[in-house]
């Protein structure tokens, strides 16, 4: 929808959410791709597995999302060749931040959430803005439905700030099953009130035994 001749971005809508637990991480994203008032497809995955314990969910402009994923996957391969191991989640987090900032003057129009397990096996979620500023948090939501979802997560999961002294842990005490249930509820609610969110939600759970995926149907209107 180029309202000006030089506006090269478009917002494909959608919402991503992630929650970190003491030994798991769940990431979810809906599967609708829209442009303006039209739905282009109901079956588009916004989640990309970057490494064994590291998954990226992106909302925003899907063209930039694809380019970013390819870029990161290629760099991950080089890292594996050079270091003989997979990139850990905090490593990938900083790398993503740098990748986004290198295009500071022609940004990737993507709002990312990176989720996975850190080297101690604890869940971690990193949330980004479009130019690479990032922060490790206990939970996050990005995309068109984020404004509807974050207050609910704040209410259910509000965790002590990592800046407090004496330090308190930021991950949620919820169990994996409860976190997945919460995500399903939250997506169902966001679908009611956000036109860009709906169709299906893809939920990815990362824990010590690997990565598991499930799909849940949402309203298609």
């Amino acid at each position: 929808m180029a309202l000006r001749g030089d506006w090269v971005y478009e917002n494909n809508g959608g919402t991503c959410v992630a929650i970190a637990g003491s030994d798991y991480c769940v990431i979810a994203a809906d599967t609708r791709l829209s442009v303006g008032y039209s739905i282009y497809t109901r079956d588009y995955s916004k989640i990309c597995k970057l490494a064994d314990k590291c998954v990226l969910a992106t909302s925003g402009f899907q063209g930039d999302m694809k380019a970013l994923q390819k870029n990161l996957a290629a760099r991950h391969l080089i890292y594996q060749h050079q270091h003989n191991k997979q990139m850990g989640c905090p490593v990938m987090a900083q790398h993503l931040s740098n990748t986004l900032y290198y295009k500071r003057f022609f940004p990737y129009y993507t709002f990312n959430i990176l989720g996975g397990l850190d080297s101690d096996g604890k869940g971690c979620v990193f949330t980004y803005d479009a130019v690479g500023s990032y922060e490790r948090v206990g939970y996050s939501a990005q995309g068109t439905g984020a404004g509807l979802i974050i207050p609910v997560l704040d209410n259910q999961l509000k965790s002590p700030s990592p800046l407090l002294l004496p330090a308190k842990d930021a991950v949620t005490p919820l169990s994996e099953v409860e976190a997945v249930d919460l995500l399903k509820d939250v997506f169902a609610s966001a679908t009611e009130r956000d036109i860009y969110t709906g169709d299906k939600v893809e939920i990815v759970v990362i824990n010590a035994s690997g990565i598991r995926q499930e799909l849940m149907e949402l309203r298609k209107d």
Partner: protein
């Protein structure tokens, strides 16, 4: 010392992608490019890159340097985070504060940390605060006009004692003893200037900084979250405290039952 930050998203029209390419080829590069607030949500959402609304301050006193900051980040009117780390540990004896664009500050401080380390390896001695702040200010000056938004204070302890510099994305660099940066800075200055004495103890200075940040968060809607206070001394920096400002409010101004002047009684049944 409030940096005159302008919120501009610099979207280059060129297909060039790396930061350094776009810096070198300045020929037909329209350095900043206002995106008009036309139509859809998406344009506005993109413009609102994460900004650090802020109350940060730093001052030198007899024992060293105190650095304090709040932790709120906003995107337009939406609070995008209440737990942003605005005080960055460049190395064990130098701290930097963040104000302005979150990504700009994070990236360039990280970059400064790398350059400081390289300096140490090349010269077999630590870099001075003067040197570190000059490195950062030269980098920012070369990007002047391109839309970076950085208002930072570099505080540290080197061979000459405590050092404090204010550096911003216009290319300014100022040496000083007391600075406050951000939208909450007028309020912080009020409390800070009033309570400042050169010969305070470390605890008194930390308490002054904490109060100043608390007052800034009280009156400025764009500041809030957790007030962090750091102390930089001859042995390096040490985090003194991190308190939620909501709780600080009740600690400083506990609720007292107000005296009732006239108590309402039910009208007698006539």
């Amino acid at each position: 010392m409030r940096p005159s930050w302008r919120m501009r998203t610099a979207c280059g029209r060129r297909a060039g992608d790396t930061l350094f390419d776009s810096r070198l080829a300045l020929g037909n590069f329209p350095s900043t490019f206002e995106i008009k607030r036309v139509g859809s949500n998406s344009v506005e959402a993109f413009e609102k890159l994460k900004l650090l609304s802020r109350a940060t301050l730093a001052f030198i006193f007899k024992e060293g340097v105190i650095v304090a900051a709040d932790s709120r980040a906003s995107m337009g009117g939406y609070i995008s985070s209440q737990s942003v780390k605005k005080i960055i540990e460049i190395n064990p004896y130098m701290l930097g504060t963040m104000a302005g664009g979150a990504a700009d500050c994070q990236f360039w401080h990280r970059n400064l940390g790398i350059k400081c380390r390289l300096h140490e390896l090349a010269n077999k001695r630590r870099i001075s605060v003067t040197g570190a702040s000059k490195l950062l200010s030269n980098i920012l000056y070369s990007y002047r006009g391109m839309g970076l938004s950085v208002g930072t204070m570099i505080a540290g302890w080197d061979e000459k004692g405590p050092g404090l510099y204010y550096v911003d994305s216009e290319g300014g660099r100022l040496k000083g003893t007391r600075f406050s940066v951000g939208s909450g800075s007028p309020y912080a200055y009020g409390v800070l200037d009033n309570g400042y004495r050169f010969d305070m103890t470390v605890e008194e200075a930390a308490e002054l900084a904490r109060r100043a940040i608390y007052h800034a968060t009280f009156r400025d809607g764009a500041s809030g979250g957790v007030a962090s206070v750091y102390y930089v001394g001859p042995d390096g920096w040490k985090k003194m405290s991190g308190d939620d400002v909501g709780e600080l409010h009740y600690k400083y101004y506990p609720v007292v039952p107000t005296p009732i002047e006239q108590e309402m009684v039910d009208a007698p049944a006539a």
